[in-house]
């Protein structure tokens, strides 16, 4: 304890009397190291988190109701919907019918019957336009034309990836229709049944489920695909209070809806690959960040080593007058701790006080997501603990190696 107290005195006074610019520079390096550790993996994870956030906002909502394992669709959909309407915790929901079809364009202008038809295999989703828009904000993804009007029939929204003009970046991965635009007539075929639709709007989003989709009113969907039982494929729900989806899910199950549908929160129902990619990016970020830690630890090692080396004689004299080695080591460890704590604190302040909010307001525009900065506090604490520990070791080692030198040799400056 005595040694610790003396070490604190020696270390703190060294920090106090050190050159302010040198101290600032070291702290700046530590802050950058901390940011490198937090921000690199945070942005990599945020890239996926941004995509995940968009999928939640524009496609899957907070709670997903899907068919039971031994069913093809949501049985008793109308009963489920009536029940959902009675839950005050639910902000909005959308009932979705989904099937595959083919969409054909430019067939009226086709003169040569031997020529290839302008056709695309598409996913068709039947929705109540008002409910869907309330749940997923689908209308905000219109990039040409207009959103569906619930009072009209014979109109379709076409995902941008099915339109050649917007899908060129994907080459031949998807079928796309050439030259179509809002107002054009297309033919939607489901099995043996075909119906003409006028393209009301083109929708585009960074969520593939939206851009690779076509939307028609649910009434027309049921007629076209013969869904006379009115059983839907999916119901997605937005809860009023973000973060309460687990509680709302339990309430839905308690009310007996679990007998008709598989009920999952977004986290449970989201595609597994999102979690896998997130974990992969997190590991990648940690790896890149660890290079920063190595650089920082070498920096601290050199700083403490030079500091201790330049005070070698003073260290010898301190030992000579009876100051324990441990006290002198504590003095240098304290300095390393000071640099690590202040640097990390500034880095944390910058991260939580500015960067996270900034990237939330100004996401990084990636082709498939709006990247944000993700820095969970628990992970940040772990990374700080790693940085702190390594910095301590980097501070201790040079001090230890110099303090253990022969006292008289240190006093006389002998090697």
């Amino acid at each position: 304890m005595r040694a610790f107290r003396i070490g604190l005195l020696l270390g703190w006074r060294q920090i106090q009397r050190a050159n302010i610019w040198t101290t600032s520079l070291i702290i700046f390096v530590m802050m950058l190291t901390f940011l490198n550790l937090i921000a690199v993996s945070g942005i990599l994870v945020g890239l996926i988190a941004g995509a995940e956030k968009a999928v939640r906002a524009e496609s899957l909502g907070d709670i997903i109701l899907s068919e039971l394992p031994d069913e093809d669709r949501l049985v008793e959909t109308e009963g489920i919907v009536r029940e959902l309407s009675s839950f005050p915790e639910i902000e909005s929901y959308s009932v979705r019918y989904r099937s595959a079809g083919t969409l054909e364009a430019n067939y009226k202008e086709r003169r040569n019957l031997q020529a290839e038809r302008d056709i695309a295999s598409v996913t068709v989703t039947g929705v109540d336009p008002i409910q869907e828009d309330a749940m997923s904000g689908l209308s905000s993804n219109i990039i040409a034309g207009e959103y569906l009007n619930p009072d009209e029939e014979g109109y379709i929204l076409v995902g941008a990836y099915y339109v050649e003009e917007y899908a060129q970046q994907f080459g031949d991965i998807f079928d796309s229709l050439s030259g179509v635009k809002p107002g054009d007539t297309v033919r939607l075929t489901a099995g043996e049944v075909s119906k003409e639709f006028i393209i009301k709007g083109i929708i585009q989003s960074k969520v593939d489920e939206v851009s690779l989709n076509t939307y028609i009113p649910e009434r027309e969907f049921r007629r076209l695909f013969g869904r006379i039982d009115r059983n839907a494929d999916q119901i997605v729900i937005r809860v009023k209070e973000p973060g309460t989806e687990g509680i709302v899910k339990d309430t839905l199950i308690d009310s007996g809806l679990g007998e008709f549908a598989k009920i999952q929160t977004f986290d449970e129902g989201k595609p597994k690959f999102i979690t896998d990619i997130k974990n992969t990016f997190n590991t990648l970020g940690s790896f890149i960040g660890s290079i920063g830690i190595v650089v920082a630890s070498i920096t601290i090692f050199i700083i403490i080593f030079i500091n201790a080396l330049s005070r070698q004689r003073q260290i010898g004299i301190l030992k000579g007058i009876g100051i324990e080695r441990r006290a002198i080591e504590v003095a240098y460890i304290l300095q390393a701790a000071f640099y690590a704590i202040i640097g990390s604190a500034l880095g944390a302040l910058l991260t939580y006080g500015f960067l996270i909010g900034y990237f939330e307001r100004n996401p990084i525009q990636f082709p498939f997501s709006d990247g944000i900065l993700v820095a969970p506090v628990d992970e940040t604490i772990i990374r700080f603990a790693i940085l702190f520990t390594i910095t301590m070791i980097a501070g201790f080692l040079p001090a230890w190696s110099i303090v253990r030198k022969n006292t008289l040799n240190s006093i006389l400056g002998r090697k």
């Binding site: 003396i6 005195l9 020696l10 006074r13 009397r17 301190l318 007058i321």
Partner: protein, 237 residues
């Protein structure tokens, strides 16, 4: 003023002290079997030319170095069997040091420099500060408690160094050429201070110096040459 007894017990008894240094295949014998006894309350000066071995002898007697051979009893303790930690503790509790270039910690104030060994001994902060200020007052630097070493003259720094050495009331004060870096006025003041510590407080002092005028305040002068004691001069008081 304490009266010296001619039959005071020996506080240092060194017998056959040798010290050799090996550099590659070259072995240099710096001390060649020194026998020295110093009584409690005695002021002994060690003199000699450069390379005579006077500082090396003081390092052995003050436990800053370990002899290659011989026996050494300090304050009734066979110090040669102590390990590094025990030696450090022994130096802290029993010995005081004044180095030729003051050797103060530049980041600490005068009082903090003096407090350092006191805190290491386990004194509470306030007690250590009061004791340190008393010691600083005692060396004539009243009010300069909060000055950094860089704000003090060489003579003042050496006084702080003496205050640090004596604040814990060590049994033996070792001074290694304490006037080497001082002008003659400051040097004389420092020697007077050390002499007074011996004369008034009965402090045992072992001092290395190469200037005879500074050694004249001692009880005895040990003259060294080429690693051996060539003469012990008893000074009449």
């Amino acid at each position: 003023m304490k009266k010296k007894s001619t039959t005071a017990p020996n506080i240092i008894t060194a017998t056959g002290i040798t010290r050799t240094f090996t550099t590659g295949k070259v072995i240099t014998e710096v001390l060649k079997g020194i026998d020295v006894s110093i009584q409690t309350g005695e002021f002994v000066a060690i003199m000699g030319k450069s390379g005579a071995g006077k500082s090396t002898l003081m390092y052995q007697l003050s436990l800053l170095d370990e002899p290659s051979g011989g026996t050494l009893m300090v304050d009734n303790t066979n110090v040669l069997i102590l390990n590094e930690v025990e030696r450090t503790k022994f130096r802290l509790n029993t010995l005081g040091y004044v180095f030729q270039d003051y050797a103060l910690v530049p980041d600490l104030t005068a009082e903090e420099n003096v407090m350092l060994p006191l805190l290491m001994r386990g004194l509470e902060w306030n007690t250590a500060r009061t004791t340190a200020r008393g010691a600083i007052d005692g060396v004539g630097l009243i009010g300069k408690y909060l000055n950094l070493p860089s704000e003090l003259s060489g003579g003042e720094q050496q006084r702080v160094s003496i205050a640090r050495a004596i604040a814990g009331k060590p049994k033996i004060l070792f001074a290694d050429e304490p006037t080497a870096n001082l002008d003659s006025v400051s040097g004389t003041q420092v020697i007077q201070l050390i002499t007074d510590l011996n004369r008034i407080d009965g402090q045992t002092v072992v001092m290395v110096t190469h200037e005879r005028e500074y050694a004249l305040g001692a009880d005895r002068i040990i003259h060294m040459e080429d690693g051996i004691v060539v003469n012990v001069e008893q000074l009449k008081k």
